[in-house]
């Protein structure tokens, strides 16, 4: 069978697991192309208009795949990722949203509910359900599930060693090698706080990652952190948030605010996201206490780049000055994306 995998939302968290599972079963996988204008246009014209850009983009990816010759498009329902922590209602309702948006293709939406509280049991059950729908033998599904979990663990390891999820997607076939590969350390490091699908969708967020890296700034993200390291920030928030990813962004962001080797924090979220507004406020409050720069980038459908470039340049200037490197003597930024900041001692 040929299974389409939309490159959006939880793709940026669980793709390794899906890759391991489907490839072990011998199914061919088709990834949708990275978000581009065509995908956004498809998404915007097929979705209700009051949802966030990330979910709209997901519609676009699904439609893109439905237009290709794939047997199924995989849209898992990820309802929970931790005990008592849930995902946004739109994400929990994702298969239903897709089925109602693409009624004539509803039968081609392959789904199962991942209600991951603790342990692997819910994952095994969800994959069993998928296996039944695809008509694969139980034994094979069991093996494939193990394979999926193995890939996911490898990916987690790669994240913990400082590789971004984009690197993981690129190197999905040799994750072990990726884990061993060292991450280049740059003079400045900026932490990106936010949901993985906002941080890594380089088209919708105006490619913040490249803009920073081209300016000589290294990046780390909140999904690189082991939740154990930021557990204690619950105290600052009085209690944990209801949403798993918002917790990761808020507490991970706070952890980075406290890390001496991080120069600043940039949060990335989509305009209509109510959950983001909560963790951003928390980061604001916390950064005020510690005194580390935090900037919020809120994206929507716009493709104009000037406003974003100005903010990022100014933010880099700010951390340069903070480190005593001054404003001048840097390679000129002649065209937005190439902002090579050269650092030299004066």
């Amino acid at each position: 069978m040929k299974i389409g995998i939309p490159r959006a939302l939880y793709f940026y968290v669980y793709y390794p697991m899906w890759y391991g599972f489907f490839s072990s079963l011998g199914h061919e996988m088709k990834l949708s192309i990275p978000t581009n204008k065509e995908i956004i246009n498809l998404g915007v014209s097929h979705s209700v208009d009051d949802i966030c850009i990330s979910v709209k983009v997901f519609h676009g990816h699904v439609k893109y795949l439905l237009n290709k010759d794939v047997d199924f498009v995989f849209v898992p329902r990820i309802a929970s990722e931790e005990k008592y922590k849930y995902t946004c209602p739109k994400l929990a309702a994702l298969p239903d949203l897709m089925k109602s948006a693409f009624v004539s293709d509803a039968g081609r939406i392959l789904t199962a509910t991942f209600y991951t509280r603790q342990g692997d049991k819910p994952i095994i059950e969800a994959f069993e359900e998928i296996g039944r729908q695809l008509g694969d033998p139980e034994e094979k599904v069991k093996r494939a599930t193990k394979e999926g979990i193995k890939y996911q663990n490898l990916a987690t390891k790669a994240l913990r060693s400082g590789h971004t999820f984009l690197d993981i997607v690129k190197n999905i076939k040799n994750l072990e090698e990726l884990i061993k590969r060292p991450v280049e350390k740059k003079r400045y490091t900026v932490a990106l706080a936010g949901f993985p699908y906002d941080v890594y969708d380089t088209f919708t967020n105006g490619d913040v990652i490249s803009k920073l890296e081209d300016s000589g700034v290294g990046i780390v993200t909140t999904d690189m952190l082991d939740p154990k390291v930021y557990k204690h920030y619950s105290k600052y928030m009085i209690k944990d948030l209801f949403w798993y990813q918002a917790n990761a962004a808020a507490k991970g962001g706070m952890y980075y605010i406290d890390s001496p080797d991080i120069d600043g924090i940039i949060s990335i979220s989509s305009f209509n996201c109510g959950i983001s507004s909560i963790y951003q406020k928390l980061l604001d409050l916390y950064s005020k206490e510690i005194g580390k720069p935090v900037m919020h980038i809120i994206v929507d459908e716009q493709t104009g780049d000037a406003g974003l470039a100005t903010r990022i340049e100014a933010f880099i200037d700010l951390i340069r000055v903070k480190r005593g490197d001054g404003l001048v003597s840097q390679e000129n930024n002649l065209h937005g994306t190439e902002n090579g900041v050269h650092v030299r001692s004066v």
């Binding site: 192309i33 005020k288 780049d305 100005t310 700010l318 390679e331 930024n333 002649l334 065209h335």
Partner: protein, 344 residues
Amino acid sequence: MSKTVALGIDIGSVTTKVVFIDENDEIIEGLYIRTKGNPIDTIKAGMIEAYNVISSKYGDIEVMAVGTTGSGRQLAGVVVGADIIKNEISAHAYAAIHEVPDVSTIFEIGGQDSKIIFIRNGAVTDFAMNTVCAAGTGSFLDHQAERIGIGIEKFGEYALRATNPVRIAGRCTVFAESDMIHKQQMGATPEDIIAGLAESLVRNYLNNLARGKELLPKFVFQGGVSENIGIVKAFENAVGAEVIVPKNNKLMGAWGVAMLAKREIEITGQKTNFKGFKVTELEHKTRVFYCDGCANNCEVYEVIENGETIAYWGDRCGKWSNRLTSKVRRTERADRREEINSEK
């Protein structure tokens, strides 16, 4: 002996600022012109005008450094040959700190965007720019001045004469305008409406940009809108402290980037990239086309100087911008800089 100057150009959405500074960083000539439709022509006209004034005063001049800033900074940078192309936040902050060294908060309101910059101990610690709309910026005031039929330059004095400023919804220009028309039909005087507008603009600005941030004196207010004494008063009322409007309030961005360009040249010891005043005689054209290389269909901008393309931008993948000829210059610069570094 010729006079050595540095040039700073700030191409804003509504106005263009051209500033020449002398060796003491003092402005010897500054111009404030409307950008209108064509930023390149505006820059050239401004440069010629300023050149004529300065050369009649000082005779020969030598430009040792050029910097550009503002939303048109890239375009201006490639056209004139800039040594530094700086975002407007850093440029504005640099000039404000130069003028008022112990400044803590900078309000800057220009034609289409507004920013707030927080400074502690002479360094930018935080900033915010207006997000989704242009409510409460210069363009909106301009539009309202036209509608009411009172010159924008008189807005300030009208606001000061008000006895009972009316409350105007400042969240959005569409609501603000209908609110203003409603109040005017109810019989409010133009003075009270204009003062109300100033207050709502300040309220909206502070709610939008300064939300939850600590506003500490000294306050500096710059950008075109700081000409408006009514808004200055409204700011003072809102923050409960004096708000300083520096003497070059409208030119701060250009001044800041002129100083930064000068520092850049002083530090690197390089020769300026400035193409000379002859650029005003060169023919510059710009062209926009849609790249059909992939589904993104990027709007690519091309700058053509005397028939030769000198810059591309707007492409996401770098297909066009990587082939631009000024890239050669950039690489050379980078190489030279590495040489300097290795010598140290």
